[in-house]
Symmetry: C2
């Protein structure tokens, strides 16, 4: 059984095209023996964003801290701490931090896309 | 894209043998079109517990609120808000609320075991 906390997880910069002010941590993933799904945590600085993109894997998201917008296709929707989201496979999406503090969210994906 | 909050999700009692003071919510699941994994949220009242059991599906857990113990096999380990856990397939486990308030945790599983 692996038990950890975010502060114990390496903070990795996100270098994907379209990403701004984003870092990634992986509290539960392939390296821990997760057989199907991984938990990633992204932190966006104020003004930061993830790429506005599509891919074949779904996202299961939970917003831990902060507020911002998620692009549902090309439509912005307000999100904040406590929101749960399902981004379906091939659905265009993007997270944007429109707040004054960090926007921190969990993003569960199949381990192949960790 | 589904966006919801815990307060919008039906609260279901947990009737499994060995469960005490436990309820379940499913903010993201099969009914929402989740293709592989579901997010369930369990709430244990003070003194409550989940069954001390094993099964073939793994758990990815995140503790949202409260404190308690997780049984790693037959060994209790202290857990609290902010902890991430991986319960491997076939690993004996149990959550126990040893605190004064609710113990609330996310439990991601393959949709087949939702």
């Amino acid at each position: 059984m692996r038990i950890t906390r975010l502060e114990n997880c390496e903070v990795l910069p996100v270098h994907m095209a379209g990403a701004i002010g984003a870092t990634k941590q992986v509290p539960i993933g392939k390296a821990d023996g997760a057989p199907n799904f991984s938990i990633r945590v992204f932190t966006l600085a104020p003004g930061g964003q993830t790429p506005h993109h599509t891919h074949e894997s779904e996202h299961l998201n939970y917003i831990l801290q902060g507020c911002g917008e998620v692009m549902d296709g090309d439509t912005p929707k307000a999100v904040g701490a406590g929101d749960y989201l399902l981004v379906a496979p091939h659905q265009k999406h993007q997270y944007r931090n429109t707040g004054d503090g960090p926007l921190v969210f969990m993003c569960m994906v199949p381990t192949a896309y960790e």
